[in-house]
Symmetry: C2
């Protein structure tokens, strides 16, 4: 294929070693020699063989990202923004990003992590959607393999992570609804094996109790994080806890699904019932009724996660081992208006209930 060091060396009549040093900017090469070498390299259209360099240096300069998929899609639309974040940061530091798609907890996923932990596939991996007693992390830690997680993974975790503060996020959202006069709020939880699912549920119950509002099991339903799952969970909620005046879902997709169920049941989101989500995916703003939600700076999280991993690989000291980012409330039409001044059904279409963010 393309020219190699030997070709250049032959051309200029020097040794391969000198050529290598000249091209890599070592200062023990005569400036004149270097110029000749660089010229020859350009002429021959030289590009270093990455594989050979990797073998020699025992580093791949590649990062692994095992991406959870759900059917033909990403498990969450925000992973695309996350990839942009890690991708750009990786490129900036001259790392390649290897992406491997697997459904969560599958055999394929396990093998992918095993391959990483065994070394020489990539120099480090990024773990997302951390789970309770996460076997992926246990594996990586057992092998002493470099990784950074997006999400925490246990109380006594000492290894590095970047995470958004789900408890704080759900808390501001819940408080927002309570301040609007809601007391009976249904909650659509994420599967409890997912760490963020636990935190979001915790944020909800804590905030309710802080406001003197009891939480019954009937007002909590679990969903699978998809729109369909959210719709189904909302239906169960409506059956077990019909008195609800607001619904909070653990992610935007489920909130959007819940809104559809509510509409079908004759309860208009933003008018008869307040609805909130989490993540602020693009669809939240586009939704039939624009969705109040909690924004995570997901691109930034990706960038930080990646930067941290590269620091670890390079053996650089970390500014912080564990980063917890504060999410931000985004109020849209699905919040509706304060309960006290809520419009009667006759006035539905007119009031400011459907105004945008």
């Amino acid at each position: 294929m393309s020219a190699n060091l030997r070709d250049i060396a032959d051309r200029v009549g020097l040794s391969v070693t000198t050529v290598s040093r000249a091209l890599n900017g070592y200062d023990d090469v005569a400036e004149k020699t270097r110029q000749r070498i660089i010229a020859a390299a350009k002429e021959l259209d030289y590009a270093p063989n990455l594989t050979a360099r990797r073998l020699r240096k025992q580093r791949t300069d590649m990062l692994g990202f095992i991406l959870p998929t759900f059917g033909p899609r990403f498990s969450d639309p925000f992973f695309s923004e996350f990839i942009a974040g890690i991708g750009n940061e990786a490129a900036r530091q001259e790392f390649d990003l290897v992406v491997s798609t697997h459904s969560p907890e599958s055999e394929g996923e396990r093998r992918a992590y095993l391959r990483a932990a065994n070394g020489n596939w990539v120099d480090g991996v990024i773990v997302v959607r951390t789970r309770w007693k996460d076997s992926r992390i246990a594996l990586l830690e057992a092998h002493g393999f470099p990784f950074v997680a997006f999400g925490r993974y246990g109380v006594d975790a000492t290894a590095p992570y970047v995470d958004e503060d789900s408890i704080a996020g759900i808390s501001i959202l819940t408080q927002h609804f309570i301040d609007l006069g809601h007391q009976t709020i249904g909650f659509i939880a994420a599967p409890s094996n997912l760490m963020f699912g636990r935190y979001r549920l915790q944020g909800f119950t804590e905030t309710m109790e802080r406001n003197g509002l009891a939480v019954e099991t009937a007002q909590i339903a679990e969903g699978d994080l998809t729109e369909t799952g959210g719709a189904a969970a909302a239906a169960r909620l409506l059956a077990s806890f019909p008195q609800l005046t607001a619904v909070i879902a653990s992610n935007d997709l489920m909130a959007i699904g819940a809104m559809k169920t509510l509409q079908k049941a004759g309860r208009e989101p933003g008018v008869d019932v307040a609805v909130g989500g989490f993540d602020d995916v693009p669809a939240a703003a586009y939704a039939n009724v624009p969705l109040t939600t909690v924004r995570q700076p997901i691109y930034e999280i990706g960038r930080k996660t990646c930067a941290m991993l590269i620091d670890i690989i390079a053996g650089r000291p970390l500014a912080a081992h564990q980063i917890l980012l504060k999410p931000e409330l985004v109020v849209r039409a699905s919040s509706g208006v304060p309960l006290a001044t809520s419009p009667s059904p006759d006035e539905r279409r007119s009031s400011g209930a459907l105004q945008s963010e």
Copy 2:
């Protein structure tokens, strides 16, 4: 790090050569020997060094995907589904996928393709969003480097591609609106340097003309494929071609933006004006007024593109060099009702105009 062939060889008292052959399933190894070797490999937790293997075999078993980004996002949300398609197919055939994010036509993108074409980064690349006289493809062809494009790239193209038939797609959508009674249809075009932009515009004008409807420049506006761009283009259209009763955008994001502009101008999509998009991204179904659009089987396109590329790399004969997939019309509320029976403004909220797909 982990054990290598030499470790196993020492352990069982055989040569590295024999161990290699045993582990790679050559049949010139005594079955008993093979068993011993496999046992030792398991004990030592052996994993082959991919880098060494790659250097020796002069193949990386990696595919490159240079993903166009727009700010902190993918250029199009459907690229996430596309990645899932290529990722799963690649994994199935034991290839790794290297993803590199770059904004279109940037210097970084150029360098990424150059690195690929120079060899030894990956074995082949997938090109998306093909452009008129695409310099990326010219580069790859000049170097004889394996690639498959999602999208065509010129009239006399001989190299492999997978594409959806944009002309047919826009055609069925346009015909759908014409059949509903629309004669004055505005069109929001994609940048004309993008091949699919050209095809979609062509599909529109051809279909109009086939129906005896003239197309003026005033009824076409160009947008940058984002929601904001679509909103701006719709505003221009409204100014230059106010008589329009329907708007077709070259992608869903722009259609959604256009709907917002129309709403602000007091023209309700699905009631006063029909709106159509292209792609069927998730947001199309979630939109304020669910969007009529043309669905592309994007996961399948990703899978096929990837499979084709691997066949080329492996030197296998291709079943087809160029695949053109038929897209499918998805009718939703934004189509509205036939113009003849369209409800008067007073009846807006009642009729079937807002019924779902």
